[in-house]
Amino acid sequence: MAWCAVAVIIDAQHLRETAAIGAKLERLGFKVEQVRPEIGAIFGAGDSDLFPKAAEIAGVQDVRQEGRVQLPPSDEETPQ
């Protein structure tokens, strides 16, 4: 069990149902923080053990940890 930032991707055929899928995720125990129907994205937080259950929801293409980027330290020698 690991609580983490989550990204849920909705498949292209179910973009209009993004908000409804978000509600289903909340019922599963996810904390939904941002819903983006135009690109089929739901962001929030949740237990990674619940990912397989979330992936079974109709219209869900993928459930994964939210991506992050990290710049290196700002100095002249390190490629930025």
Partner: protein, 414 residues
Amino acid sequence: MSNGDSEEMQTDVLLDRQRPKPTGGLVVIFREAAETAAQIAALEAGGLRASALPIVADLTDFMAAERDVCAVLTELGVAFVPECAPAQAGELIGLLSDQEAVADTRPEFYLFATAPFQDTPERTWGVAAVGAVESPFTGQGIRLAVLDSGLDLQHPDYRERRVASRSFVPEEDVDDLQGHGTHCAGTAAGRPLDSGTPRYGVAPQAELYVGKVLNNRGAGRERDILAGMAWAVGEGCQVISMSLGAPVRQGETYNTLYEREAQAALSAGSLIVAAAGNESARSNGYIAPVGMPANSPSILAVAAVDQALEVAEFSSGGINAGIDGGGAVDLAAPGVGVFSALPLPREYGSLRGTSMACPHVAGCAALWAESDPTLRGRALWDSLTQSALPLSADERDLGKGLVQAPGRGGPAAA
């Protein structure tokens, strides 16, 4: 023979192999008081034929046409003696050195440029290499977004400038404490207030939109980056620069969400350019794949070149090119020793990386967008790739080549 002697001898051999190579010709330097007639007479006393050449620029044509005649550059008080046999050269140096009008005679050597581009007091090497200096366009009327760590709004070059900005980072305003965003925004659209500062911005008159999507420690969440992209598109930015990314594995495909956002951007007339990534160690033979989001098919991926227009050591390559239509490098731009703005108190500094290359392309995109109002979205992408200067490296590493600004034929070395 001691080890020390051995090392010394080896060093001498290496130095010897690197010594400048003589052309076989001679350079004759005349005394300041020597008239042209005296200069020619001195050469003729050495058994040479000579002709005065008042205009230095004519030298190349002259030497090509008159292979056996010395060219006397009267403006400089110097003469070039054509190639002669080594034994004859030694004798000639002696003869000419005895002449009253001659101050010095020495062998001529080949010179090679080690880096064709360098910064000058007027402009950075990158701005020159992409042709922005000669371009008649400045980005006027074009909205250019930089999604990064924000901008130092107290920097002298931005304090008086109208900048649209928004922070997508929770509990942080747009002020850039990290430095990366200020540097990238400067390369894309910086405009020095002080005339003593070199021009470092490719599109200095572009309308700058700054979206802070990376926090003051340089970290960014996927949701905030996507929100920043949507904001820039919604604001009508024709160009969106993203000097950020995360590494991917060999064989890994692109991120669906970045691709969807980028497709929507292209449809709305916004072109997104992104840094290819810095994970390569080319001197060790390792080339890393283009990172995300630059690996999205609808985002233009930018690699970095150095001042010799060679692919930078760290620049990621198109290792995953063709996987689901993404993963390729599309263009290259200056990404080594890039001078630009930095937050106070540093004010200015040089950085390296594909993050520095990316805003050169964004700036050029703004110039192209200004040059023709029909160049938006995919048409703008095509104009950039079709006008690029092909470079010697593989397309896998540098895409279609060095990005070029509109309004000129090619880069001028300096």
